[in-house]
Symmetry: C2
Amino acid sequence: MKNLLRASFGALFILTLTACVSSSPTPVETPRNVVFLLGDGMGFAHVKAYRMYADDPSTELVDPLPVDALQVGSVSTDSIVMDCDSTALNCTRDPHGFTDSASSATAYATGKDTVVGRLSMSPSGETMTTILEGACMQGKSTGLVATSELTHASPAAFGSHVADREQAADIANQYFDNHWEEKPMVDVLLGGGLEHMQRLDRDLVSEFRQAGYEIALNRSELLSMQGEQLLGLFAPNGMPYAWDRDSETPSLAEMTQVALKSLDQNPQGFFLMIEGSEIDWAGHDKSIIGVISEMEDFISAVQVVLDFARQNRDTLVIITADHETGGMSLGRDNIYRWDPRPMNGVKATPAAMTAKYLAGEESLSAFIAENVPFELNNAEVTILDATPRDETAVRDAIIDLFNKRTLTGWSSTGHTGVDVPLYVFGPGSERFHGVMQNETIGQVLWEVFIPTEHPD
Amino acid sequence: MKNLLRASFGALFILTLTACVSSSPTPVETPRNVVFLLGDGMGFAHVKAYRMYADDPSTELVDPLPVDALQVGSVSTDSIVMDCDSTALNCTRDPHGFTDSASSATAYATGKDTVVGRLSMSPSGETMTTILEGACMQGKSTGLVATSELTHASPAAFGSHVADREQAADIANQYFDNHWEEKPMVDVLLGGGLEHMQRLDRDLVSEFRQAGYEIALNRSELLSMQGEQLLGLFAPNGMPYAWDRDSETPSLAEMTQVALKSLDQNPQGFFLMIEGSEIDWAGHDKSIIGVISEMEDFISAVQVVLDFARQNRDTLVIITADHETGGMSLGRDNIYRWDPRPMNGVKATPAAMTAKYLAGEESLSAFIAENVPFELNNAEVTILDATPRDETAVRDAIIDLFNKRTLTGWSSTGHTGVDVPLYVFGPGSERFHGVMQNETIGQVLWEVFIPTEHPD
């Protein structure tokens, strides 16, 4: 009986262990890698519009986007907004103002709020360490990938410290000059902004090359990159919208692919920030075509990262936005539908269409009729042909045509205050849930990724 | 050595068991009670606006709403929309149409999609069992609480089956006539809609009273209710907006309190559906004042339910919406702020203000100046005093004044296609996460709440 009991105990013990292993949650591991993806200006309407656009109409249910199953909450992107008089000397805090990309990206990068327009620097001017720098100081590799110029606010908040986001030359200089153990703190820089890096006063492209970075100035050069330190610059400023790029301008997904391959060579792991920068610009233009072009580019990059993270389970992926742009809505004027089909096959944004139209001789309605998958009605023809042959007027007329045809609504050409979506995947993701402030995301990211190194 | 090994085994076994108990997740329990709270027309902008309105400005951070920590994802509220010709006989499915409250509430109630306008009945006319009915057949108590008339689409989808949501008399009759074990399937009915229950052709109030229901027709009667079967009707149709109610009209929180106390007397548990019905109506009116009035009423009821669920941990709470109404946004016209302060102290909606103004002799600007916490500017005075002395015109002028002062934007007077927030609390909540379809919520709710009884 005693022996039997012991034998039972042993068996029970093994059973218990088995049950325990299978039912206990994976312990909170420190992720080796973090990829932070920012859809600049991406609100819930932008995501839903792209889901409806990308849907395969031959299947009964709407096909989910790769982010959909990963939503865990949303982000309230408030920051410190100062309400100043005309001298800009007398300022009071405005509790109801909206953030910009600089302040919001600073919150994600440092875990701390700052005033609008400032990059990883406190309201009183102290440098605030970023998660990219924290990763670098741990011996990890680091990267910034964006479709805007690399000196634009969101990537710049992770890799530089300036009082004013407009200091593009200072930001570019800091990418090279801010060193850790005798090398620049950012290993991989891919995006637009050649003219801020190669200037009359300083040629950072040469300096990076001499420091051992591989340089790419077009898609072919990008795709053949092999090293651990890369600088790729694919436009003088922001890269063209995805639908307007030529064959020598890479996609965000291609830049992402190259960045991951490069950074993953470091056995210590990496931090990579990736931005779909121009979702925001399309929102400022109230252009649904621009939004879909840039959402397609961004979500393709998200897919590349998720494929990597599913192969490399020590990778934490965070996907969110810095604020919503445009007050975008699906549905307008009491019509209960939103129709993506007027954009089917249209692989050029209104800006590119306008340039092509102005280079030709046709009437605007004749030009548009050749470039859209629907038949223009009389009212549309009248409006288009009454449009002055002027770049802004033509572009706005084309934007408006697509907004009305798709039934997209907008409340502003600026940022709005609505919360933005939060998606996470990988080890540490259980720390992100519910409605979070953007600076809380930054704080938790530090705690999860670099638990010993949080700067207070 | 052998004994030592055995002793160690024993100790290890106990340690393992302890570690296992403390680290294994709580097993998925079947909740005894479910409370399903629907903010009709409540999108992310509605929630954010109320969070900013309700915030205590003396604290540095924005105070979270009781729902904020409970967000787990969002809901895509697509349903079956038929695009019909003028005869309504030739219909094709419209994959890009938006849902209405009937079809969306049906999805939540039954786990199945149906066509717009239909209540818990399939496209071909078959009755589809609702979660309320499933709970009733399990011996649980059931309740419907709404600020609209109780025969309105959302509550009606849980307690009746009709081809057209406009069949208010049929819906009211079914609340009494649809029996299980010789009693009506809905035990607690609290809301508006007296005129649909007490009609020339049938007096359901008397019938319910004779069947043993306690009846309340005002707030005092509601608050003294004690029984397990209650009918409370506090307006001929929809109840007044919360800010326009008199002292004898209860709040949604008060109705919720009474419903919970009543239903909780059943040891088998209960299913309760609660609707903040008129968030949607305020959205149709593009009225930010109406939205804040109804969000305050709804969130107060949510707080009552969460207080109950924290005391009764076998209660699953789901809080969501059926669709967004209005294409509402915080921020308009390129101004980077949204200001709730013009609504401070304004405890009447534009409809009530209009009635009061039309009963008096003052100019509209003089009347408004006395009823708002800000000083009207010259442009506002001019617009108000040029408004015809007509109910709709005056109401719209007041709505517009508050939209502009608060910087609220709208894209439609109807429903939009943007996803709506999803909040959950309690046992089974781990089954809800990410972006879900509304019918998937209904299916998972069945699986969690009544695992043995899912009708297929």
